[in-house]
Every structure is written in structure tokens, then in C-alpha cells.
């Protein structure tokens, strides 16, 4: 279940909840669905919390070639 992408987990969770809400399951099925739902929920939250704010700049290749933008204005689009 860990390899599940966030949106897959979310979509599956939506399905599980919808099925549960239909209320046509046996008690055992409902409890199994609930357990799966809790797992998916935990997965979604874990995935959301795994992100770490960072900006990384790939430099090495560019210093070597002394890119034009290091020299000053290269007119990278409209300036704010």
C-alpha cells in the first residue's frame, strides 16, 4: 500500500467511504472497509507531511560553462 501515489490513495479512500456510506455491507465487511480507510487516511497524511520546504539550485554544470546569466542581465522575461 506504501507504493500507492497520494491521489490513488485519496481516490481509494473516497471509494471506501462512499461504499461505507451506502450502508449495505455486513458488519465484517464494514469493519474491514473501515480498517482499510484508516490505513489510506494515514498514508495520505504521511505523504502530505513528508514534504520539506527547500529550494535547490543546480549550479555545478553552469559555473563550469560560465553562463550568461551570471554575468548580469540576460533579460529573463519581464522584470517585476
Amino acid at each position: 500500500m506504501d507504493e500507492l501515489a497520494f491521489e490513488e490513495a485519496l481516490a481509494r479512500l473516497e471509494r471506501v467511504v462512499a461504499e461505507l456510506e451506502q450502508g449495505e455491507m455486513t458488519l465484517d465487511e464494514a469493519l474491514a472497509a473501515f480498517q482499510e480507510g484508516v490505513k489510506l487516511l494515514r498514508l495520505c497524511i504521511t505523504k502530505l507531511n513528508k514534504f520539506e520546504e527547500q529550494i535547490e539550485v543546480l549550479m555545478e554544470d553552469y559555473y563550469a560553462e560560465a553562463p550568461s546569466w551570471l554575468g548580469g542581465q540576460d533579460g529573463g522575461g519581464r522584470q517585476k
Partner: protein
């Protein structure tokens, strides 16, 4: 005296207009010139003046035509215009009614763009089957642009607003100038070598066709096409399409729009997750509650209905039996009492005392106490006790007589 013919302004204006409109050259022609006084009316009509070194021509392009334009005309732009000349009677001025408008000024650059576009299209670089899906939630976003440009600023701002924790990897590249194509290509390749980046934005804030040149080169087009990571292009304005746009897996009109597409809104996701959490809890609780209530109804209704009725029957039977038992007992008792009384009565009747009350008496030998039942059991001169109902007499036998019939 010469008779002067006097015309009204409208008459002569109409005459000139007819003259212009009946001319075969003026009714459909191409003109080359530079746009000035460009104005887009709220109605959607476009007004401008077409000029060259020596003269100018007023032009109007009606909305029905203007909305078909695939580029944004601007002052200073050299264009080719097709249309017809007619007279605007209110102003008494002739003008060009524009049917078609295409860029001309870039000349060689524009031609190169068209040729490359046709060639790459024929090769299938723009084909839908090569388009990779854009991930819903990337682990990291790669960006190829100039760190000095507005595009980089816009992308970071939008990503930080929508998903503050989203990691961004910038591969810097000049986005205009001669080195630009090579740097863009190297930056794309550098990002593609990594395995932690799920989507790449490549682009710059808008500009003229000249400024966007790098994004119309074969080098950049092929670099985008080679990418294993999905690429979103963000080149220029709403209206210009670069070749990079056509090769990219998805084209965003601006860098900000690209950031919006690439990164979901975290609060929205959290809202969805927590909403689902609530619904999950509610659904399972409601399910359990329903089951419990069902159980209660079953326990309270169908089971007792049979048992209860049977119980009632039993109770009734028991009551009935009890009553019968009581009745019977009472009957027996009553019977017994009656019998006892009867017997008692009989006894009473048999009691010698009762006989004595009726006038009979008992005679007993005084000394022995034996009851004398015949004359031979006593003799004259003997003492006897005669017992009566209310007492006894002590008597002397004086004479004995035997009954003849006895």
C-alpha cells in the same frame, strides 16, 4: 447664366464610396506595413493605423475577424494585411476593412519558425500519443528558467502559496541570447538525470518573437521531447504559441499558470483528507448504530413474539390449572365436610344418648355394670341402674315377667 448643380455632402460621399467599392483592385488586396495607434475597443473591434516611411492608412478589423487572430498585434509590429478599401461616411475618410492579419516583421525569424514547426510536426514531435500525464502531487518540481527573471519569481510565489512545503529544484538557464538554447537543453537534461523530480516547468515571462527565439529552436524542442519527466511549458503570453509549447506535455499560458497546474493546493488536499476522515468515522459509526438498533429490534420483537405468546399461554394454563386445583380442593373439602356432618349426624342418631332422649332407657347390672338385654340376665331382688337421657335411677327388681311372644 450657367445653372449650377449643388450636391449634398452625403450624396457626394456616397458617390465616392461607390467609386471605391466598384474598383476591382481595392475590393481585395494585401498590404504590408507597420502597426501604430493600435486600439482594441470593448466591442472587440480592432482599430489601428498601418504606416510605412511616407504614408498611413486607417484600418479597422471587426470582432468577427479579430477573434480568429492567433497572435497579439501590437504597435511597431510589421504585418501583412488583407482587406478592402471603403469609405467611412461619417468621417468622410477612407479606410481599410481588414479581413486577415499576419505577422511579417520578423521576416526570416518568423519564416524559420514556420518551417521548423512544420518539420517537427511532420516528425510527430507534437503528437498527442507522446504527451505524458502531469502528476497530481509531484515529490519535487524542477524549474528551468533564469533566476533573474519574473518567471522564476512568479513560479516560486505561486508554489509557496499553494503548497508551501513543495521542494523546488532550479536548473538555471539563460532564456534569451545566443547561449539560451544550449543552456536550456543542458538544464533540462540535468533535471532529467535525477530520479526525485516528477515534473519540470520550462519557460520565461512573455516577450517578442525575437525574445522568445530560444523556445522556437530545434535544440530546445528536441531536448523537451527527449525528457522522461513530464514537461510543462510556460512561455510568453496567452496568445503566442512557441514550438516549446507544442512539444511540451502541457502548455501553460504563463509561468504562474504553470505553477498552478503543477502543484495542488495543499489546504484543499487537507480539507479533502479531513473531510474523508470525518465521513469515514461517521459512516462506520452509523453502520454500527444501525446494526445495533436492528439487533435491538430483533431481540425485542420477533424472538419474544413467539416466546411471549407461548409464555402467555403457559401462564394462562397455569392459572387455569391453579383455579381448577383450587376448585377441586374446595370441592373435596366441602364434600368431606358434608360427609363428616352426615356421619356426625348418623353418629348422633346412633348415639345411645339420642335414643334415650326418645324415651328408651338402658338397664345395667349395678354391681357388674353389664347391660341387661334380657330377663334372664337378672333376677328378683337384684339391684340395677336404669340410665335415661338426662340421668339414671337406682332400682330394685321386684318381679320378672316373660313376654308370651318373646
Amino acid at each position: 447664366m450657367v445653372l449650377r448643380r449643388i450636391y449634398r455632402v452625403g450624396e457626394i460621399t456616397g458617390y465616392i464610396r461607390n467609386l471605391l467599392e466598384s474598383d476591382s483592385l481595392l475590393s481585395d488586396l494585401w498590404i504590408r506595413g507597420e502597426i501604430s495607434n493600435f486600439k482594441r475597443h470593448t466591442s472587440g473591434h480592432i482599430y489601428f493605423t498601418l504606416k510605412d516611411d511616407s504614408s498611413s492608412l486607417r484600418c479597422v478589423m471587426f470582432r468577427s475577424r479579430a477573434c480568429l487572430l492567433d497572435f497579439l498585434p501590437a504597435n511597431g509590429m510589421n504585418v501583412l494585411v488583407r482587406g478592402y478599401i471603403s469609405l467611412y461616411e461619417r468621417d468622410g475618410s477612407y479606410q481599410l476593412y481588414v479581413e486577415e492579419l499576419e505577422p511579417d516583421g520578423m521576416g526570416a525569424l518568423y519564416l524559420a519558425y514556420c518551417l521548423l514547426k512544420d518539420r517537427l510536426e511532420a516528425e510527430g514531435l507534437f503528437a498527442v500519443e507522446h504527451k505524458k500525464p502531469i502528476p497530481f502531487l509531484p515529490r519535487k518540481v524542477g524549474v528551468v528558467t533564469s533566476p533573474n527573471g519574473a518567471a522564476w519569481h512568479d513560479i516560486v510565489t505561486v508554489i509557496r502559496r499553494r503548497f508551501p512545503q513543495m521542494p523546488i529544484v532550479l536548473a538555471p538557464a539563460a532564456v534569451q541570447g545566443e547561449q539560451a538554447p544550449g543552456e536550456i537543453q543542458a538544464a533540462l537534461a540535468a533535471l532529467d538525470r535525477r530520479d526525485d523530480i516528477d515534473v519540470v516547468i520550462v519557460g520565461r515571462g512573455g516577450g517578442s518573437l525575437e525574445e522568445l527565439w530560444a523556445f522556437n529552436t530545434e535544440e530546445v524542442a528536441r531536448a523537451i521531447f527527449r525528457m522522461h519527466i513530464p514537461v510543462v511549458s510556460a512561455v510568453g503570453h496567452e496568445t503566442d504559441y512557441s514550438i516549446a509549447d507544442l512539444v511540451a506535455d502541457l502548455r501553460a499560458p504563463t509561468p504562474s499558470a504553470a505553477a498552478e497546474i503543477v502543484v495542488p493546493d495543499r489546504r484543499e488536499l487537507e480539507r479533502r483528507v479531513f473531510n474523508l476522515q470525518g465521513r469515514l468515522m461517521q459512516a462506520v459509526n452509523r453502520g454500527l448504530k444501525e446494526k445495533r438498533e436492528k439487533l435491538k429490534t430483533i431481540a425485542g420483537r420477533s424472538l419474544p413474539r413467539s416466546v411471549q405468546s407461548r409464555l402467555l399461554l403457559h401462564k394462562q394454563q397455569v392459572g387455569f390449572l391453579n383455579r381448577r386445583l383450587l376448585d377441586r380442593t374446595r370441592a373435596i373439602t366441602m364434600n368431606a365436610r358434608a360427609k363428616t356432618e352426615l356421619i356426625a349426624g348418623k353418629l348422633d342418631a346412633l348415639s345411645p344418648l339420642a335414643i334415650l332422649k326418645r324415651g328408651y332407657s338402658i338397664c345395667r347390672n349395678h354391681s357388674t355394670g353389664n347391660i341387661i338385654k334380657g330377663i334372664r340376665e337378672t333376677g328378683v331382688g337384684e339391684l340395677v341402674d336404669v340410665i335415661l337421657g338426662d340421668g339414671s335411677m337406682h332400682c330394685l327388681v321386684k318381679e320378672i315377667k316373660e313376654d308370651q311372644h318373646g
